[in-house]
Structures are given as C-alpha cells and as structure tokens.
C-alpha cells in the first residue's frame, strides 16, 4: 500500500498559557512511502517523527494536510478502518493475557462478516507466531519473556490482522546492543517475507541506514531530506543531515572559500579545489573516511592517538578550525601513520568533503576536480 502524506501539519496547544503560542510538532510534511518498502523516519528526539507516525496510524488527527493510503484519503478515518498494525516502543503487551491471547486480541474485535471462528483465530495467531518464531511461547505471560521475545509478540499482534501498513515506534530502543543488531535483521526479514509497507521511527541513524529502503530525515517537525540511505549519506542537503548521519560523525571545520579554493581557518594553504563555490565563509564537513594520510598533504593536525579497530584504524587528532575538540579519521592501514609523531598530514578525498553556507547551513555543491574529465 502506497502511503502519501501531503502538507501534513500538527499543532499542539501551548501547555502553559503564560509561555503562549502553539507548538508545531510537524510542519507541512510531504513525502511518499512506495508500496512494499521499509521506510525509516529519522531525527533527533522531539523532531515530530513519533507524532507523524501517530497521524499515519490515526491516533492523532492532523491539524492540516492529508494522508492517502493508495488512492484512498484516510485523513479522517479512525485507526481500525485504516488497516494499520502498530508496534509501540514499550510493546504495550497486555500483561494479564498470554502470548496467544495477546496475538488473538485484535482478531476478536472483528465484527459482522469479518467475524472469525475460534479455531480460525487460533490458526491465524499460530501462523503469525510462527512467522516471528515465537510459536513455542504461546502460553507464557509477557513478563516471562525477554525484551526481544516481547518485541516479536508485539510484531505478531500487529501483523495478525494482515494490515495494509505496519508502523513501528522506536522498535529497537528497549533492547540491548547485541539483541538490537539481531532484531533489526529480523524486522527486515519479516518485512521482506510479508512485503508489507512499513514505516518505522528511530533516532538511531545506524539503525535507519542499515535496514531502510528509504530514509526520511526530520528536524523540528520539518522534512530535511529523503532518499535511499546511501544517497542521503553521500549527498547531504544540509549541515544537519551531514552531521546526523554517519558513525563516527562527520568532522566540521570553519573554512573560507577564496577563488575556488577551500582554506581552513587558521592555516594559510588551500586544502581543496572547490570550483563553482562563491567566495565567503563556509562550514566544511569532512567524513572520517575522507582523510588520506599523506606527508605532503595540506591538512596538518595534532596527533592525539591511533586506535586500531581491527578492520581499520581510527586516528584521533586535533585541528584549530575544527568545531569539535577532536577529529576522527578512518584509514585502512596502521602503517600509514606513525603513532609517535606529534602531527599528521592529510590530503582530502573531494567526494567526502561537503561545503555548507555559514548562515543557512545549506549545501554549496561543487564539481570535484577531475569529475568532468
């Protein structure tokens, strides 16, 4: 089921009269979720992503804008008529019911010609339980299950009605790190197996990047950028998106562009050719993998330490123009840097360097040298 949001806006009345004014949680959000895809709504906490999910679900009514499931306008439809399944952050499993009763619960609400027999309900519940591999836990109470198992029960309860859309609110945040990795693959697998259009909310960019077909990055209720994860990572539209995606995070430097060349503040030599960028102060974002150790390189940093991570090597260093205390550079081999040195020199990979306007923090594109040849 194709989901389309058009100018979706949600305003909440001010909680405190004295502070005045409404709070706009979601501001004219427009995007589309193609049929059968897994889309991650990504943003820092308080950016309106959960409110957006609640509006898609029907738990919150939008102040403005419309929601379409396929051709059908569901803006005013109550949740049960939308055909949505929702997995809550705390799973919201009914503690007094067994796993089987929890999964059967939505089916027991069906009325009229959709009403099912007891045996049919049980058959569907067991079938869904098998899909998420909890068929041996059906007689347990939720409190007797681990966090990961509870989550599977919650997913099974959301899927048992065969909804058109599956919504997950921070599905992994209540799990420990090891389980998180396993569960996100599980979610991805279940989504592929059922082919159900899925929207999930997360503040964890790694989580979103790893399993989503598309990501939608939000900030303060406004859509910042959307697209395939790799494409958004490689081509961020703003400083916010560049900073939000990637571990370790991007390194941001204060810089100046003069005559088509980038200068980092506090150093005299140009570090990169940036044809087509207007002169003036900029923010230069450099991905950790954009640094290439090069004794003749233009970027000179103070070396703090070298961390060997197994697969690759992380260099922690400092530079006066950098906005953070330290810079992290990821290089493929330890032999490229001498850990005993006080300084380290880098050249930059042009496609890993992004320039942003100092005021508006929007991207200033430049054609990487050599790209046209």
């Amino acid at each position: 089921m194709n989901i389309k949001l058009e100018g979706l806006t949600k305003r909440f009345p001010a909680r405190d009269k004295r502070s005045g004014g409404e709070v706009t949680a979601v501001d004219s959000l427009t995007f589309e979720v193609p049929d059968g895809t897994l889309v991650g709504l990504l943003g820092p906490s308080g950016c309106g992503k959960s409110t957006t999910l609640n509006m898609i679900c029907g738990l919150e009514a939008p102040s403005e804008g419309r929601i379409f499931f396929g051709e059908e306008d569901v803006t005013a439809a109550p949740p049960e008529l939308r055909g949505v399944g929702m997995v809550f952050q705390n799973y919201a499993l009914y503690p007094h019911l067994t796993v089987l009763q929890n999964i059967t619960f939505p089916l027991e609400n069906l009325k009229g010609d959709k009403k099912l027999s007891k045996a049919e309900m049980r058959r569907r519940a067991v079938e869904t339980a098998r899909l998420v591999q909890i068929e041996n836990l059906l007689d347990r109470k939720p409190r007797e299950l681990s966090g990961g198992q509870q989550q599977r029960v919650a997913i099974a309860r959301a899927l048992v009605k065969t909804p058109r859309v599956l919504l997950l609110d921070e599905p992994l945040s209540n799990l420990d790190a090891r389980l998180r990795l396993q569960t996100r693959e599980e979610i991805c697998k279940i989504q592929r197996a059922t082919g159900i259009t899925t929207v999930f909310v997360t503040h964890d960019q790694e989580e979103a990047m790893s399993i989503s077909d598309r990501i939608v990055v939000m900030k303060d209720g406004v859509l910042m950028q959307q697209g395939e994860p790799q494409q958004v990572y490689d081509d961020p539209a703003s400083l916010f998106v560049a900073k939000f995606l990637g571990t370790p995070p991007i390194n941001v430097f204060a810089g100046q562009v003069k005559a088509g060349r980038l200068y980092l503040e506090g150093s005299g030599a140009p570090v990169l050719d940036t044809p087509g960028v207007p002169e003036g102060p900029v923010w230069a974002g450099i991905r950790p993998e954009g640094f290439v150790p090069d004794t003749a390189g233009p970027v000179c940093c103070g070396l703090n330490r070298v961390e060997v991570l197994g697969r690759d090597v992380s260099i922690v260093c400092t530079h006066p123009a950098c906005q953070a205390d330290t810079i992290r550079a990821i290089i493929p081999s330890r032999s490229l840097v001498n850990g005993a040195d006080n300084t380290v020199h880098f050249a930059l990979k042009p496609d890993k360097v992004f320039l942003f306007d100092r005021e508006t923090e929007t991207r200033l594109p430049f054609a990487p040298p050599g790209a046209e040849s």
Partner: protein
C-alpha cells in the same frame, strides 16, 4: 541465631512489642473471657469454664437480629459501593474539564464527621409531626405515601442505613480507583484503539484486569469495614439500637459491656470472638476467590 537475623529481630522489636501489648494480649484475653462462665465483674471471679457464653449469645434474639442486620449491610453495601465507585472513577477519568472540582466534591464526605452526616440524613429522611422530611416530599410527587425511614418499618430503616453507609465509604474507594485508573499506561489504550477495540471491551478486558489488585483490596477492606459497622447506626437511630431493631454485631458487643443492659464482659467477648471468626472466614474466602480469578487471567496480588 546468626547475627543478621538477630539484628532483624531487634528492628522488629518496637512494632512487635506494641502489637503484643495492644493486639495479641487483648485478643487472647477476650478469648479467655469468652470461656469463663458466670464471670463477676466486681469480684473478678467465675464459677466455671465452658461454652455457655456462646450458647447464650447465639440464642439471644438481639444478637441474631444484629447478625442479620450486619450481613444485610455487608451484602448490599460492599458490591454497590464498589461498583458505583468504579463507575464514577471511570467517568472522572474520561472527562478533562472540571475533573479536580468533581474529585473534590466526591471526596468531601470522607472528611466530614460521621455524626454530622448522620444528622443531615435524619433531616432528609425523618418524619416528624411538623414535616415528612425531604425524601418523603419527593416521594409524594410520585404518589408514594410517606414512609417513616427512621422510626418506621425495618426495611425502610435498613435502606437508610445502607444508603448512608454507601455514601460514607464511596469517597475513599473513588480516590483509590481514580489513582489506579490513572496508573494504567495509556499505550495499552492506544494499542487497543489501533485494533478497533470497543470501549466496553477495553474496559472489561484491559482496564478491569489492570486495576484488579486495587479492586480486591477495596472489596476485602470493604467487607471488614462493613462487618465492623456501628457508629453509622448510632448516628441515624440513636444509642438504643436493640429497641430500634437496628443493632449490629459491634453494637451488640458494646451494649453487653457498657449499655443499659450491660455489665456482661463474658457475653461481649463471645460475641466479639464470633465476629472475629466471621471476618476471618470471609477474608480467606475473598483471597481464595481473587487468587483463582487472577489465575485465569487477572493480575496477581502481591
């Protein structure tokens, strides 16, 4: 005894000592009194040990009347007050404006003096030479004849007593249940709404099981409280409850000790022990039932 358990006993000592002096010792003393036949208060002597006191009490028509009154009171007021309190709390939980005002109004009876409330009820219900009372005036609109609720037929007096008791015990129950309802995580309701659960089904399948520990607590304390009823009857019908036919078991015990027909601590003790056994039995039955129910899908009481 190792050191840590000795320490634990030391910490328990103050409470244990108080309980022993003011609870355990009197209970044992009452038990002993209840078996001493022909106890003379002045000389502190008795002429035998046996079950005569129990036999006397169980054959005393006043006691049987008191037992009947108490049981009627318990059986009517506990379910009615708990159900009404649940309905009012659920209604309070679903409204937003003026909620705290209503909460205050519903809680007012709790902080009002029992005897003062009794006086108000007398004004409402009593039929005198000058007026039939407010309630009778209203009954007359519907064509019903005036009923003397305070000095009239037994069922009318029982009705007033039950009405009064329910009104007095409700505020506390509403307070407890409002708190219990507020503590249910709203995500359960959201999940139920997404699944299209009807309001009635949400209430019976989700809300009720979630607050069932509090309901069990209220029913058990409600039973115990109603069995111990006395001051309510006094405030409505005066101190001579036997004459009014409205005595309760606790009232009977009091009358046997200090009333006009008093001075019989042995009979009072026997009656008190009978009450104790009744309350203990009912409480055990309550706990057993609630355990069984919770085994079938309710929340465990811890």
């Amino acid at each position: 005894m190792d050191r840590s358990s000795r320490k634990a006993w030391l910490y328990l000592l103050p409470a244990a000592a108080l309980l022993a002096v003011f609870l355990v010792y009197p209970v044992i003393d009452v038990l002993i009194y209840s078996f001493e036949e022909g106890f003379n208060f002045a000389s502190q002597t008795y002429w035998g040990v046996g079950l005569y006191n129990y036999s006397y009490v169980l054959h005393d028509p006043y006691f049987l009347q008191a037992v009947e009154n108490t049981f009627v009171l318990v059986i009517i007021t506990v379910p009615v007050s708990t159900t009404l309190a649940l309905a009012i709390s659920a209604a309070l939980a679903s409204i937003k404006p003026l909620r705290s005002l209503y909460q205050t109004i519903y809680f007012l009876p709790y902080v009002t003096n029992t005897l003062a409330v009794g006086l108000v009820f007398m004004v409402l219900f009593q039929k005198t030479e000058y007026t039939d009372g407010l309630v009778n005036l209203m009954l007359e609109w519907f064509g019903a004849g005036p009923i003397d609720f305070i000095n009239g037929p037994h069922w009318a007096k029982m009705f007033v007593l039950c009405f009064y008791t329910i009104w007095v015990v409700m505020p506390f129950k509403i307070l407890v249940l409002t708190g219990a309802l507020a503590s249910v995580n709203p995500d359960y309701y959201k999940a139920a709404r997404v699944d299209g659960t009807s309001r009635a089904r949400i209430f019976f399948r989700i809300t009720l099981p979630m607050i069932s520990p509090m309901l069990v607590y209220l029913v058990i304390t409600g039973f115990i409280g109603a069995f111990k009823a006395y001051s309510d009857a006094v405030s409505l019908f005066g101190t001579d409850l036997n004459a009014a036919g409205m005595n309760t078991i606790v009232g009977y015990v009091y009358d046997m000790l200090y009333g006009d027909s008093g001075g019989y601590p042995s009979y009072a003790s026997a009656a008190a022990i009978i009450l104790f056994v009744i309350v203990l039995t009912i409480t055990c039955i309550n706990l057993l039932i609630s355990r069984r129910v919770s085994g079938e899908g309710g929340v465990h009481i811890q």
